[in-house]
Amino acid sequence: MVHVSATPVLALRGVSKRFGAVQALTDVDLEVHAGEVVALVGDNGAGKSTLVKTIAGVHPIDEGVIEWSGNPVSINRPHDAQGLGVATVYQDLALCDNLDVVGNLFLGRELLRRGVIDEVSMEKQSRDLLSTLSIRIPSVRIPIASLSGGQRQVVAIARALIGDPKLVILDEPTAALGVEQTAQVLDLVERLRERNLAVILISHNMADVKAVADTVAVLRLGKNNGSFPVKTTSHEEIIAAITGATDNAVTRRAGRRSTEAAK
């Protein structure tokens, strides 16, 4: 199902980031391949957002290497990341309520025809993009203000695709959505994978992660705490990695008992 290419689109090797006295990330590794959805999970303050911001160019890294398609690159500004082909959809969607869907999709990169905004081509491309993603919205000429939360989320994700990125980062895309809307967004994530994009999905919701992700990368206290293939890993194992519950009195006793029983 997953076509994992040999060279990852993005690879972090031993990345560290400090904010003053706080060591936000320590020696973190992460790999994302084309056509792969990597769920980035972890407790609050585990460093998920910081990690994503280092990739998006908001916070430059202090140590380590970022590799893009196998070549080391330096990402110091959001502009650098966009230039490489990283599109980030933040939790606060940052859409202009007063502009219509077309206006928002193309905001900052309007198509021009003889120096004038080419509404017809923009509308056509918007409709094509939304229909290939099977996104349902009433009309591409409706102001964002009149869309539901889920519809705004899918528009924000579609907006990230206008620039033809290779890697899409979704920061808690389903956090504020209802059941049907969450389903819509998860469908969309799968369609991103079908388009052979690399996807990093931050989520707190294990059901979402199990539903769409191929790999789960767990962060704990700014460090890697395991990377699991979703299919063969149970819910409890992931939760244990997130909370650090793998190494405590209960697990040690359970481990001892099983070895004793084996004797």
């Binding site: 202009c96 928002n104 905001l107 309007e110 905004i117 539903a211």
Partner: protein, 441 residues
């Protein structure tokens, strides 16, 4: 429209993720349309228009409805009080005198689109007319050079306001309030003891903007030429747009709607042309005002710069993430406002052929703000059109001229103008609230 009718059988969801796609679990689920079944589809024909119109009004999207209703009410009342109100001469007066404050209102539309306010436009317009008089009369500068200089200084003043607002972070309200006082003071200082500078009005810009200067020297054909030009460009533009949209396969305006719009504009503009011809022709001031409206409307709706202004007015964070330089937009918008204020000042100078202590004072500022807001540009930013400057000015100038005609006291005039401004802002706030309730804001 094409996207309403095509029902396509639902595609098969990916099997391994059935739990995420709710309807797929239900074996009896009927094929669903690709378009959201709840969306509001406009019916064909005139019935469709009517239901769409009713829905929009209920949802608070009033557009130019209040202003048209207001204009009819105002004209009826004044006509009943004084039957000279709707005479050709008086209507011609209204169109001439609205151009000056209208120019200020154009600049204010830009600022209001950002959700900000510029309180200095009245003072800047007065200062510009005084500077022009000083350049031309006191220093003997070429009038056209003086005009350009005065407008450039207006732009510079606006840019200064914008810079203090955008870069230092002082609220625009306070910056321009300081400008309101400061630039008025500078004007009074420049005029000094004399109080008034008369500007020779037999030629140059002051003559052009004066009351005795008409388009094509009052030729009857002039007014109809302008009306015909407007109608023709709408007709051609609409059909070209329709053709391109048809070719691209996106929804287009039906021919009936285009014809309806063209006929409506045609009736309005040719009636106006006939009335003005009945008086003495189309004043050049009005022609310049209309030309400015067309140009500015084009900039706001069809260029990336205009789109950026709407984006900043709709969401600063979204605009910033889209790579728009918010400070640059703010500074240029205030510069544009200052520039139009200075142009308005030239119009004031043309009206009286002088620079006076009263220029741009009194309630000029209030009238300009009221015009922009009455015309339908929201005080809350992101919504509006430059045509609101025209519609709003028609209302405001009708009230002014009507009250003058009835020999009302300044005291009464101020009270009525204040009430009209308040009314416009109340309509704006209420319509915004009902837009929110209807989920459209």
């Amino acid at each position: 429209m094409s996207d309403t009718s095509n029902t396509v059988s639902k595609e098969e969801p990916e099997l391994e993720h059935q739990n995420t796609v709710a309807p797929a679990d239900d074996p009896t689920a009927a094929p669903v349309s690709v378009v959201d079944p709840r969306l509001l589809v406009r019916e064909e024909g005139f019935k469709g228009y009517l239901t769409e119109f009713k829905r929009k009004v209920k949802g608070g999207e009033l557009g130019s409805l209040p202003v048209v209703v207001g204009l009819i009410v105002i004209w009826t009342i004044f006509q009943l009080q004084n039957d000279r109100f709707l005479s050709a001469d008086n209507l011609s007066n209204i169109t001439y005198f609205m151009s000056a404050t209208g120019m200020l209102a154009i600049g204010l539309v830009f600022v209001l689109l950002l959700g900000e306010i510029d309180l200095s436009v009245g003072s800047v317009s007065g200062l510009a007319s005084t500077l022009f008089a000083v350049f031309v009369v006191t220093h003997g500068l070429n009038p056209w050079l003086g005009l350009v200089l005065a407008i450039l200084i207006g732009i510079g003043i606006g840019a200064l306001h914008g810079w203090i607002f955008a870069k230092i972070g002082v609220p625009a309200f306070v910056v321009t309030l300081a400008g309101f006082l400061g630039w008025n003071g500078l004007m009074l200082w420049l005029l000094g003891s004399s109080g008034t500078i008369n500007i020779p009005s037999d030629s140059g810009p002051v003559h052009l903007l004066g009351q005795s200067s008409f388009f094509m020297d009052q030729a009857i054909i002039g007014a109809y030429l302008l009306a015909g030009l407007g109608v023709l460009s709408l007709l051609v533009g609409s059909f070209m747009d329709q053709k391109r949209r048809k070719a691209a396969g996106v929804p287009f305006r039906p021919t009936s709607e285009i014809l309806l719009r063209v006929i409506a504009l045609g009736v309005a503009s040719f009636a106006a042309a006939a009335v003005l011809n009945n008086a003495s022709g189309v004043s050049n001031a009005l022609v310049i005002f209309l030309a400015a409206l067309v140009i500015v409307d084009f900039v706001l709706r069809r260029t990336t710069y205009g789109r950026k202004i709407f984006a900043v007015g709709g969401g600063i964070e979204a605009a910033r993430r889209a790579g728009i330089s918010v400070p640059m937009i703010r500074i240029t918008v205030f510069a544009i406002s200052g520039g139009f204020a200075a142009i308005g000042g030239m119009f004031f100078a043309g009206q009286t052929a002088s620079a006076t202590l009263n220029a741009g004072g009194g309630n000029t500022l209030m009238l300009a703000i009221a015009a922009a807001v009455i015309g339908g540009t929201s005080l809350f930013g992101g919504r509006g059109s430059v045509w609101s400057a025209l519609l709003g000015m028609l209302v405001i100038q009708s009230i002014q001229t009507g009250l003058d005609l009835l020999n009302m006291n300044t005291s009464i005039q101020y009270m009525i103008t204040g009430a009209v401004l308040l009314g416009a802002v109340v309509i704006d706030s209420v319509s915004r609230r009902s837009q929110k309730a209807a989920g459209r804001a």
